[in-house]
Symmetry: C2
Subunit: 389 residues, 2 copies
């Protein structure tokens, strides 16, 4: 009888040891690249809730979130795709889906997770719930025997994914309305060596930066019959070759108030472009070579981090004044920034100081410092509600 009682209490403990109920709208994931772990964070409490380990090679890792905000899908460099439960604070499922991968996206309806791969080159589409493979779209080109690295994968409305083929110089838009029967629209000869891409926040324009020549390829997804065109003909390395310490992420482009703000390659400048004409309308001098150029959600501020050797600073541009209004020193090797959903705070990772620093974006006060192991990317669940993340 006594042992039965013990069993009952054990049951009690086991069954009730489940995590407390809580909302998921203010949760997030910080990538700890050196240790192959992620920190689960709470952006209301400004706290690290837990660490989840065993995610493999997390250099250049990125995260998308399930529609309900409970699960994060972490894309690792080693081709690993790991589904992390933010409530139970553990790995739900982990697969190695390719040899070498560089990020992913989640479909508009939240049912499909897509990974873009270097090796073998292509896009694989998985069921978001089970991680079952639903579609494999190899990036074949030319005589059909070559495959290309895939970059710049982004979700676009209509359960489509847009992405660029580095080796082929093509942009593809895959319609996954029927997940097992993807329909691919191919835009050929869009330019030499697209190295990254992004979709504007309204899901209308897909852009790919070019590595093999100057300029940016642009597709108006609302007018696909017009095909791709080249904009910003001088965007790139330009006539006078400058040392480029890090090719900036296009995903870091900011679009606010009818203007796009983008990192000038190799220059200490942020370029300002009119999104109606896609013509450059200005340049704002900054402290170093910009890497991420990110708009606060209301578009009033643009936050910029930099490549080596200026990578321990962050600058803030006021979009009304069109100039830098603040310079901050969050710590050594700032790799990423993420705004809270309505922009009151920004979280900044300082890799070599093993910390994440939280700032008030209105007063620039330093609100909190959180410990993290070589933190890189920071991703909040509010991304699940946005297009193109």
């Amino acid at each position: 009888m006594k042992s039965l009682l013990a069993v009952a209490f054990a049951l009690l403990l086991t069954a009730c040891a489940s995590p407390a109920l809580r909302g998921t709208g203010d949760l997030g994931i910080v990538i700890e690249r050196a240790s192959g772990s992620v920190a689960i964070v709470d952006n209301s409490a400004r706290a690290v809730l837990a660490r989840v380990e065993g995610l493999g090679d997390l250099s250049h890792a990125s995260v998308v979130f399930s529609r309900d905000g409970r699960y994060g899908y972490v894309f690792g460099r080693d081709g690993g795709l790991t589904k992390v439960d933010l409530l139970e604070r553990r790995i739900t499922k982990r697969i190695i889906q390719a040899g070498n991968s560089i990020g992913g996206a989640i479909s508009q309806d939240g049912r499909l997770v897509a990974a873009q791969n270097y090796q073998p080159g292509g896009v694989k589409v998985f069921d978001a719930q089970t991680l079952e493979l639903l579609a494999d779209i190899p990036a074949t080109f030319g005589d059909g025997k070559q495959t290309s690295k895939v970059v710049g994968l982004a979700d676009v409305p209509g359960n489509k994914f847009a992405y660029a083929l580095f080796d082929a110089g093509e942009i593809w838009v895959a319609d996954l309305s029927q997940p097992r029967e993807p329909k691919v629209t191919k835009y050929r000869n869009i330019g030499s060596q697209p190295y990254d891409g992004l979709v504007t926040p309204d899901g209308r324009h897909y852009m790919a930066g070019l590595f093999g020549e100057d300029g940016v390829a642009l597709i108006d997804l609302w007018k696909p019959e017009q095909g791709a065109k080249k904009i910003l003909a001088n965007y790139g390395k330009g006539a006078e070759k400058l040392p480029v310490f890090k090719m900036p992420h296009l995903r870091g482009w900011a679009v606010a108030g009818g203007r796009a703000y983008l990192p000038a390659i190799g220059r200490h400048e942020v370029l300002v472009v009119d999104t109606a004409t896609w013509q450059e309308v200005g340049r704002i001098p900054v402290k170093g070579q910009p890497v991420f150029v990110m708009a606060r959600p209301d578009g009033r501020q643009i936050w910029v981090n930099f490549a080596f050797p200026d990578y321990s600073h962050v600058q803030v541009i006021d979009t009304l004044e069109q100039k830098v209004v603040q310079t901050l020193a969050p710590g050594k090797a700032v790799l990423h920034m993420e705004f809270t959903p309505r922009g009151d705070n920004v979280w900044i990772s300082a890799r070599d100081d093993n910390r994440v620093v939280v700032f008030d974006t209105a007063s620039f006060a330093r609100l909190a410092e959180l410990p993290a192991q070589n933190p890189s990317g920071i991703f909040f669940t509010s991304r699940a509600a946005r297009i193109g993340f």
Copy 2:
């Protein structure tokens, strides 16, 4: 011993009867106005999860959500403010905070809930966690003995709230950075009888529609020193008086692609306004007098519902073609529409048919019909991440 065992099992049952863990990113609340109840819904499963009763008079009720997405704050017409737990599916706290109320807002940092009141006229600010009263800002004007009805309350960045005083013809912006010491900026003589207001999705412009004269009052919150100005001088009842079946909600204005789409008062038209100049640039004929004119999150479509007698239809405007491309008949007395966060679906309430209908916004297919008791407003938790809701 046997009874101890029974106690243990009872404990087990009690302790473990708590609701299952789940994310809150795809939850929402549907107002059931006639029965004083709300339906808690899941927009991934397209299902009603539970009904919560005892919320009082819910005519004209609206809802804002906590930063974590777990709690909804329901503002009732009778001055009731009810905090509903979407996970435990019950009322956490309910207070009667005024005699007659017309909605509310939640601060940028999620810590403050504000209610706008007709009687007594003013704004009350509560701690979002406890509903403790933190600030009471009476809408006194003139000789200081009169108080005005308050309308058009909206959150704006910087933990501020903007709102209009119907009887005073003023717009106030209250800074709640120090919640117990609100600082109020008053804009006087903004026009006669502002009846509703809204803030643009970027939090920059606050607008109040005028009932006592034609036109709309506009404040550029980034340039407060410029004060209020009048735009759309002919917006209103105009020279030829038309029968107006329902004053349209300004909160239903859509802003997409540099244009605002707004209901023409008394006319079967949607007005198109350039948000750079705030000049009218077009009119789109529609089936009836528009009430809500709402943009799909990507801005490609504008969905419009109508006043009596056309209130059983909904029309869809394509913003690229600038014309109606679809007419739907969801049911009798369509009162409200809400898009899923990335715009793949829209939920529409048909009050007199006791149902909520879910449409695919790309194919216009009718995906689901959910039972609800005289449903009016539909509110999804993704609002917590947006400015001005």
